[in-house]
Symmetry: C2
Subunit: 256 residues, 2 copies
DNA sequence: GCAGTTATTTGATCTTGATCAAGGCCAATA
DNA sequence: TATTGGCCTTGATCAAGATCAAATAACTGC
């Protein structure tokens, strides 16, 4: 019996940044990411556009939601908090990811803006209708949801079985890979990257405390695996040495 | 950049046990679980039928697979093992769940029979074709995959933030709920149920060691939260008392 | 029922990571 | 310049759970 709703953290559409949305300051159109021929699908149902400050709550677990939001810019987190304050992050939402799940009304997780985050909001029923009317989109959505499930399970391995050291190293390796992929290159030694997360966010992501995160990062630095320019800027002199610390990290990870 | 394949652990079709599959000793037809009017969809592509012994490996992570299997009977586990032997279970496959993911060839997780398990195997390309030709099925599949993702994230909370005590209690509560749901009732006090998992499987599921699992179960017994008839048969005198131990357990869990 | 194997429980000890506490760094503000 | 507050680091101590070890208990094929 599956219960509750779920939040999509999948991108089914790519934002075309060259054009501006008719309803938003930034005009954008949704480009079908499925079709190789770049078939355009117009989203007429755009209702509003909103920016959230860092730390601002976008939806809370249990909320009734009647909109679906597409992240235009910024980073948001998907998490759940226990009654006594323990929190676990279960996903990261990046530009082009969606907030809200087609078909369900209740939010199962908290969504919080990590950086300044801008959402373009659609009326859910109209959005659903568009999806339903576009089989390739639906197929694409299924595909990406399966990938997401894949990643979530990969993360379960990390949470359940990896040591603090391995967790940190895995996260850093993922960050490096992601940065490299953005530039369409493979991770090379000496790469420098920015940590988009606070120590607290990392801790919530990895199922650790901030102190442990800090200590492990310091230890990796002392051992020369990483070079800390400052708390948020890291250089990786030898990518393989970092991977060695990550346990296994077969081929990727959660952020993807 | 999603990488690797993924294994479906979702049921899109219900097995109609009253009829027998043309290719199998047990003749079964796939009943579309989406359509309320029980529209039948014939699976012509049945190629083979196979039974696995408890503990037998069905697929290994990294295998190339060209078939999709539907679990007819038994329980199988979905897990990943690190080089040094640490293992994390990431899902449980029950009858009507599928082994194998449409569209991808490489298995990302190990699938192992927990009990004697019978699979009905379809040629993947034919199976894919059928799915593609049946939009309601595809929609249903999406829906169930989203539920699965939901559950996986719920489990991440358990793995990352719950104590051993809470993990065990959560698992037991899920089992009780599942048993009750099978009989279409709500959990009532005094319910007795069978643990379908070994201590080792529970440990792998919860990210613990078998010793910790055993100790926590003993402790719960000593405190009167559960009554152990033997290692595998448990009675729950007071369901609320069990839930109290589970941390939060908002409304469900992973097996579902 | 018996030997041999596997699953489970229990105990003693050790390790990892949590907790408690203090201080440093830096940017924004008075 | 001093102050405040957010974020990060570091140290000391503690406890939850892992590890090592051994003793039942249950289950197998015979």
């Amino acid at each position: 019996m599956a219960r509750g709703a779920i939040f999509l953290a999948v991108s089914i559409l790519k934002i075309d940044r060259n054009s501006r949305c008719s309803a938003c300051p930034i005009r954008h159109r949704a480009v079908c990411a499925y079709c190789e021929d770049d078939e355009l699908i117009r989203l007429d149902a755009i209702k509003s556009y909103r920016t959230y400050a860092p730390g601002e709550s976008i939806v809370m677990a249990g909320d009734q939601v009647d909109k679906i939001g597409s992240i235009v810019s910024g980073v948001a987190t998907l998490s759940r908090t226990l009654a006594d304050g323990r929190r676990q992050m279960v996903g990261l939402l990046l530009p082009s990811d969606f907030v809200g799940r087609p078909g369900r009304a209740e939010a199962p997780f908290d969504v919080v803006a990590a950086t300044e985050t801008t959402l373009c909001l659609f009326q859910k029923d109209q959005f659903d209708k568009m999806i339903k009317a576009t089989p390739p989109l639906e197929r694409r959505l299924l595909d990406m949801t399966l990938d997401e499930l894949d990643s979530a399970r990969e993360w379960m391995l990390l949470l359940g079985r990896k040591t603090a050291r391995e967790k940190i190293a895995s996260l850093l390796a993922i960050m490096v890979r992601r940065d490299a992929a953005l530039n369409k290159e493979t991770p090379r030694d000496g790469m420098r990257f920015v940590l988009p997360l606070t120590r607290e966010a990392m801790a919530d992501y990895l199922g650790l405390t901030i102190e442990t995160v800090s200590r492990q990062i310091s230890a990796l630095k002392k051992e020369g695996v990483i070079i800390l320019e400052d708390a948020r800027h890291i250089r990786v002199p030898d990518f393989v040495k970092l991977l060695d610390q990550a346990g296994d990290d077969a081929d990727g990870g959660f952020i993807a």
